[in-house]
């Protein structure tokens, strides 16, 4: 079943003080996110990711088009009770403690009064803030605020969760924990829609991704499909003190790191290269086909428009 259905959402702002001129933040966007998947919405800064999210949350009104979440309109309170949202760089009421904030949001989301306290404590433990529940948010670090933001997004057990740059401000351990948490949400059957420009996070987590640039959708697909294409090249890794001269003749450009050497060459030259290593009695560690990474796909999808734009200039 479709969790999020975007039907031609478009946003044009009128900018300028005196003579207003239109500025397109998002060109008509058509997209679907299925229930139970982690969907990555990727794009560089200013691509239109946050604008899309704000329209889905009912914070910004579309110029044209519409969207449905769990089959309901974006301004339907019944739908909003079933979604969670973490904005980019969240900021909360700094005079409240983390526990008070979560209880307040639980109330607004319709969690019964007698359950709010228990649910808030559970969430604080889930995001690793069980000791900081009584601390006012003004004393929280950026990473701790991000964790509170994640807790408030999931405390009412929503079916669909929207995260805008969820790893922002987190240290490596925190990033790992958030990745694990998103994975848990998927296992619980929830749909996760998250915006990021950190491709390694998307590649590690997402079932499908969409790439947006300059307000325009450039591509959508499953991460497995996008990264499975082999490039007719192989990566050789071996250990040894030297790089055989015959390998250079095969077009390999070796990168030496200590006693380990890594080289990429055409798949057609693979057997000849292995033979050369054997002759030199070097220890072969691995031979791996080079696959397209999400980063390669991302860069490829961003390039054409930029080159066109460059041509126009």
């Amino acid at each position: 079943m479709t969790a999020i259905e975007i039907l031609g959402l478009e946003k044009i702002y009128n900018v300028g003080f005196w003579r207003k001129r239109p500025k397109c933040a998002l060109r008509p966007l058509h997209m679907q996110v299925e229930e139970g998947e982690i969907f990555g919405f990727l794009g560089p800064n200013g691509a239109g990711k946050t604008t899309t999210l704000k329209m889905l949350m009912g914070l910004v009104f579309p110029t044209s088009g519409s969207a449905r979440i769990l089959g309901m309109e974006t301004n339907d309170p019944r739908m909003k009770a079933q979604i969670g949202f973490l904005p980019e760089q969240p900021y909360f009421y700094d005079y409240l403690t983390a526990r008070e904030l979560l209880e307040y949001y639980a109330g607004l989301s319709g969690v019964p009064a007698k359950e709010r306290s228990r649910r808030s404590q559970e969430m604080l433990e889930r995001v690793g803030l069980h000791d900081a529940g009584g601390l006012q948010l003004r004393k929280f670090s950026k990473g701790m605020l991000q964790r509170v933001g994640i807790a408030q997004a999931i405390l009412h057990e929503p079916k669909v969760v929207f995260f805008d740059e969820p790893m922002s401000g987190l240290d490596p351990m925190g990033r790992r924990e958030v990745r694990d948490l998103m994975d848990q949400l998927r296992q619980e059957g929830k749909t996760v829609f998250f915006c990021t420009h950190i491709l390694s996070d998307a590649e590690a987590l997402c079932d499908r991704v969409a790439i947006i640039h300059l307000g325009e959708l450039r591509g959508v697909g499953s991460v497995a499909d996008l990264t499975s294409s082999v490039q007719n090249r192989v990566e050789l890794i071996w250990q040894g003190p030297s790089v055989p001269s015959s390998l250079r003749a095969l077009g390999a450009e070796p990168h030496v790191a200590g006693s380990t050497v890594r080289a990429i060459l055409l798949e057609a030259n693979q057997d000849a290269a292995i033979e050369a290593l054997r002759r030199e009695r070097l220890r072969l560690i691995s031979v791996v086909p080079v696959r397209t990474s999400l980063e390669d796909y991302f860069v490829q999808k961003l390039k054409p428009a930029e080159s066109v734009a460059g041509g126009r200039q």
Binding site: F61, K80, A81, Y95, L108
Partner: protein, 258 residues
């Protein structure tokens, strides 16, 4: 009351208390103590008049300043700090947010006025050693002051739904000053002719009539307040407040939260 409005109102009240808004009570207490002691020493037979005039005027001014300076930030601060995003992405309608914010600040002002009223009655007791029957009209004057707070809070919210905090403060304060002289404006409209009469009449009925809500001087002179005026002022304040809040909601419902 809708539970979401109640939650937003209690959170607004909590914010005001934790932002030390009620600290103004300390300044008020110092003012009233100083005035009571000083007036007792320098006035003869008019101690009550001075304490009531000074006390009620201070209650009004302290409250108006709080209503304007907190009211103008109720919406704009939430937008600027993006705390509104996590509220409106929940099953909270925009009108509920405005209503909750209004009730939270109105509640803060009522509590503040309650403690200041205790201060006024305390100072009155200090200078005259006993209460008199006409002192009950002080409660009516305080009630009218609270009605003024409701109007000015709704206006501050209205302006903050579309303009910057600074401009909202200017607009709200200007309306308070003009509204204080609303009766004079109506008198001028009666004397003017042509377009000036038309414009003055329109302005006189558009600005809030704070002069009708100000009975400080008459209660200080122990004059009673008619039940008809209480009824009229109550209806006027509620209608004006509701209209200002409806205006705020209409604008806020269409606003893009960029």
């Amino acid at each position: 009351m809708n539970s979401r409005i109640g939650l937003i109102a209690s959170n607004t009240f909590r914010e005001a208390v934790r932002d030390r808004v009620l600290y103004n009570l300390i300044a008020f207490a110092l003012l009233m103590s100083g005035a009571a002691i000083l007036v007792g020493q320098i006035s003869i037979d008019i101690e009550r008049l001075v304490v009531i005039n000074l006390g009620l005027t201070a209650v009004s001014l302290f409250g108006i300043v709080i209503a304007i300076f907190i009211g103008i930030g109720l919406v704009s601060k939430e937008i600027e700090r993006r705390t509104l995003y996590t509220v409106l992405s929940r099953p909270v309608r925009r009108w509920e947010f405005i209503a909750g914010k209004f009730m939270g600040l109105a509640g803060t002002l009522v509590v503040n006025t309650f403690f200041m009223a205790i201060g006024v009655f305390g100072a009155l007791l200090y200078v005259s050693h006993h209460f008199q029957a006409p002192d009950r009209w002080l409660l009516v004057a305080l009630y009218f002051i609270v009605l003024q707070f409701l109007i000015i809070t709704s206006l501050a919210l209205f302006f903050s739904s579309f303009s910057s905090p600074l401009m909202s403060a200017v607009f709200a304060f200007a309306l308070f000053v003009i509204g204080t002289f609303a009766e004079d404006l109506r008198g001028f409209a009666g004397m003017a002719s042509g377009v000036a009469r038309w414009l003055a009449t329109g302005a006189a009925y558009l600005v809030p009539n704070f002069s009708a809500l100000n009975v400080i001087s008459s209660v200080a002179h122990q004059q009673p307040v008619s039940g008809q005026l209480i009824l009229y002022n109550t209806a006027y304040a509620l209608i004006y407040t509701t209209m200002a809040l409806c205006g705020a909601v209409l604008i806020f419902e269409r606003r893009n939260l960029k």
